[in-house]
Symmetry: C2
Subunit: 347 residues, 2 copies
Amino acid sequence: MRATVIHAPRDIRVEEVADPRIQEPTDVVVRVLRACVCGSDLWAYRGESAREPGQRIGHEFLGVVEEAGAGVQGFVPGDLVVAPFVWSDGTCAYCADGLTTSCDRGGFWGSAGSDGGQGEAVRVPYADGTLVGLPAAAASDDRLLTALLSLSDVLGTGHHAALGAGVTPGSTVAVVGDGAVGLCGVMAAKRLGAGRIIALGRHRTRTDIARGFGATDVVAERGEAAVAAVRELTRGEGAHGVIEAVGTEQSMRTAFGIVRDGGSIGYVGVPHGSGTGVDLGAMFDRNIALRGGVAPVRTYIPELLPDVLDGTIDPSPVFDLTVGLDGVPGGYKAMDERTALKVLVKP
Amino acid sequence: MRATVIHAPRDIRVEEVADPRIQEPTDVVVRVLRACVCGSDLWAYRGESAREPGQRIGHEFLGVVEEAGAGVQGFVPGDLVVAPFVWSDGTCAYCADGLTTSCDRGGFWGSAGSDGGQGEAVRVPYADGTLVGLPAAAASDDRLLTALLSLSDVLGTGHHAALGAGVTPGSTVAVVGDGAVGLCGVMAAKRLGAGRIIALGRHRTRTDIARGFGATDVVAERGEAAVAAVRELTRGEGAHGVIEAVGTEQSMRTAFGIVRDGGSIGYVGVPHGSGTGVDLGAMFDRNIALRGGVAPVRTYIPELLPDVLDGTIDPSPVFDLTVGLDGVPGGYKAMDERTALKVLVKP
């Protein structure tokens, strides 16, 4: 089959690789219908996260079960399924607690030795713990299928950030980061009842999506000017909760600058760079909580799925460029250059 | 009157100072019955926190209202009252939210220009917002009066840490720090229903108090060995919640080492030193929350007071040395040398 492989920074290729096959009785093989490129894939693309030459890449996909191991109980060939970006056994103490990302037997698609999502098919370990079934009818609804793909990462990650930010009905939330995760954070905050949602961003196409997802205010300034603008909007106090969906020192500093005393920063941007932007002294004096991390999206899918299916929320607008497998390298380039927000892949 | 003054690191004196008087109609003057020395006072004593020469010191006291300003509605001369370590107006948006430590008009006893708790009397700003009345009968109960003094800081701070650590009924909590706050953290965790409480400490007198307060396990090791010991006690996973009641880089590192993935660190040790011990990458990968800060103890007193009054909890054992005002400098020395856990002052 054909799959996306990263050989070196900025060297993304689509190549012929070995077909995935059942290796353990708990495996299934999924034929990929939709995959995509994640902002966090760009850290590997840019060389900021190390990869072994030849590693697969891509961690978001949905598709149809092609073959199921003898021990798989929940899925049969033909089932439409979505995969969270981490596989997990579904049975350990962490999985029982909903922290599937800490599963001892879990792992990330595209890690060394595993398949990546940006390919024709994927071997899925611990299928019963990992996958979530989707209604078969969705397969013929292009818009819905795209919306459901967001359950693989960005929607659940936005939801995780909103939980970390402590969104409550009527609260004021500010969102740092206008990528797909930040935009899904806006949507998740709205879904949880936030009364006011301030999106930070300067790209009109993105802030228009933010408004469509529920943002009540847009702040185009950056850095200190952004902090001043958010405080101006919030009686000088800042937002009760802040979603940090970038992962740089500067974005974390901005988050600290715009959070109200006693508030929470829900951070889901993968930390990278040398500085963290975390000011423990300010956290202490102002009682700011810092919560978040790698989102256990598997746990959130059952809660979010009905709202996507019935159209209560529609995250599909975060995908603004569609490519086939051959277009994946170009898709990385487009996202790196910010000419695309998020690239949808139809293998 | 006589009060404690800090002139320089390790230069604590008890001197004649101007009598406090009503300056604003919202003031009262409190004659101090009980005060004490806090572990955080030692940072000033050791020169790790800057103080102006001649600044008052001490931020924990209870006593009797001697005089009340014309605008004070809740207190009259003769009332027995306890003061939280921060004064607050009780009317601003932050006070309404219970975050009295962020009150715009609030301040710390012993800050430049204000009275400190370690003296014969204190001018209390915003008395209606700041003070909490105590039953008059408590004044004649020496043990109870000492227990009530803990409401001024250490008990409420321990409670804040336990909330930050996310203590829930049946959960496992580990406590880093065997000072009065750490011990009160043990008591608060027990009060909130923790099923297992692991106290880290090697001083038998302190760990005995910890056991009396509810600790089910004591770990005497330090650093990496302490981490290994706590993990050994928790199936290798760590504690659901960790109370960090020291404030050093090493203590925070220990807290991160012993917290379970998905757990919370409730930190109330005043951060000091150059490093924070906060590992954002580990926080991200393991979904560890960091919550806490300067405790809004004024907000907690109404909840904790009944349990102290009826003897459900008795924090008085944290005071193991009693001095008069003249003994205050010696009390600092004893706490600095760890021959005393917490010094009670009877002016």
